[in-house]
């Protein structure tokens, strides 16, 4: 069976084609999971959030109007279910959270180091709003306008959130602690 594009599969799935829905979910699960993984910072919560996201995609599919790409819509759903998961997690004990050990002091960031450093821990230092902007950009490859649409903020705010979030992440990963950079929190 030839590879069908998302638009065709969405249309078929909306019409009740379960095979098309299956193909759509299968195609997008990995990226949805990746968003949830980066947003929640640990595998257990990521799996829960990704499962919730898939259910939300299925429930919301009849209302998906195709104005954005299906993948972008999935990222929006995954971001929201992850934020929900984080809110739930704040209300319960956190035995499953990873140890947020700082990287070796004074290390320089390069690809090899980045691969070893606990990026989840570094991302966990960011407020969720900044994390979402960075994840949507660096993991999902959305442009600023799309991210603004997903997060409901203006492109200028997207730009500043990505910059501040990424800068904090770079400081953390590079071991540039004590540069006076406080945990960024949204002001706009």
């Amino acid at each position: 069976m030839p590879e069908l594009d998302d638009r065709t599969l969405v249309e078929a799935a909306q019409a009740g084609d379960r095979a098309a829905l299956d193909a759509l979910l299968r195609r997008h699960y990995d990226r949805i999971h990746a968003v949830c993984r980066r947003m929640t910072g640990n595998e257990a919560d990521a799996l829960d959030a990704a499962q919730e996201a898939l259910l939300a995609v299925v429930r919301g599919l009849p209302r998906f109007d195709g104005r954005s790409a299906f993948s972008t819509w999935c990222y929006r759903v995954a971001t929201n279910t992850s934020l929900d998961e984080l809110r739930r997690r704040r209300r319960r004990p956190e035995p499953g959270l990873p140890d947020h050990e700082p990287p070796p002091a004074g290390s320089r960031v390069d690809d090899a180091v980045a691969a070893r450093v606990d990026v989840d821990a570094a991302l966990a230092e960011l407020a969720p709003e900044f994390r979402a902007a960075v994840v949507l950009r660096d993991l999902c490859g959305l442009d600023y306008a799309e991210i603004g649409e997903v997060l409901g903020i203006p492109p200028g705010t997207v730009r500043s959130r990505i910059a501040r979030g990424r800068a904090a992440l770079a400081d953390r990963l590079a071991g540039n602690q004590g540069t006076g950079t406080a945990r960024p929190t949204p002001t706009t």
Binding site: E11, H33, L47, Q51, V109, A163, A167, L173
Partner: protein, 268 residues
């Protein structure tokens, strides 16, 4: 060494993403040309972006479990395309029709001589008679242009399928003609077989009926049997009577009966 201030961070970050205007790009490039610290910071920001992108992959088992669980919820979707409430109301009727159709169709299929298309034509008769959905009245005069299986042409989308199936269902020559002109259909089947059907020993659409029913056991009696080219593949298009006006249409591949689309609710 120069100081990397938040504005520079923002410019460098946006520059990485190609989200700067021409003036900003020129400013960044000038700064990078003369400032080693800015170049170092750009590398750090780029590495941070790459680290975020390298997310751990999902376990394959988790994907399978998540997809299966999500699909389970659409067995009875909140906003179904097909009116499931109506479908439930007709369950008793359609279940009886299915049993009756199966009982009558099997011996005909096995014992029918001639082409497989003749088997299809004969098998549709009891199924159609059992349907409660008010198929068009039989045209005893054989008003159809041909008694063979109808071809819906090239279909690329569900919208195409809906449109073609609706048109086919409107035509009075559908099943009723085939039922009343069974012998004629049988004799013409060899020559009127639709494109894509006559080769490779493929048989009539009824041969795919079990596969279609496996998609949804609540499908009603057979109300449409046609061929088409679905997204480039020769296919059978089977319609099953719904409650009232709708027909649930399923598309299956010629040769193997693989489900290609559906069920799609079509009004008639």
């Amino acid at each position: 060494m120069s100081e990397i201030d938040p504005r520079t961070d923002e410019l460098l970050s946006a520059y990485l993403d190609g989200e700067v205007d021409a003036a900003e790009a020129a400013e960044v490039e000038a700064r990078l040309g003369e400032d080693a610290e800015a170049r170092r910071r750009l590398d750090e920001l780029r590495a941070a972006a790459a680290a975020v992108a390298a997310a751990p992959a999902a376990p394959a088992a988790a994907r399978e479990a998540a997809v299966s669980a999500a699909l389970t919820t659409v067995a009875r979707p909140a906003e179904p395309v097909v009116d499931l409430a109506a479908r439930r109301r007709r369950n008793l009727v359609s279940a009886a029709a299915v049993v009756l159709a199966a009982l009558l169709a099997v011996p005909v299929l096995r014992g029918g001589g001639g082409s497989d298309d003749s088997g299809e034509t004969a098998a549709q008769a009891p199924a159609d008679e059992a349907a409660e959905a008010g198929a068009p009245a039989a045209d005893a005069g054989g008003g159809g242009e041909q008694g063979g299986i109808q071809d819906l042409g090239a279909l690329a989308t569900v919208a195409d399928l809906r449109s073609a199936a609706a048109t086919a269902l409107e035509a009075p020559r559908m099943l009723d003609d085939q039922v009343t002109a069974g012998t004629e259909a049988e004799s013409e089947a060899e020559t009127t077989t639709a494109p894509g059907i006559g080769s490779a020993g493929d048989t009539g659409g009824v041969r795919c009926e079990p596969e279609a029913r496996a998609v949804d056991p609540e499908l009603g009696a057979l109300a449409l049997s046609a061929t088409a080219t679905w997204q480039g593949r020769p296919a059978y298009v089977l319609g099953f009577a719904g409650d009232g006006a709708d027909v649930d249409v399923v598309v299956l591949a010629v040769g193997g009966c693989e489900l290609l689309a559906g069920p799609v609710a079509v009004d008639r």
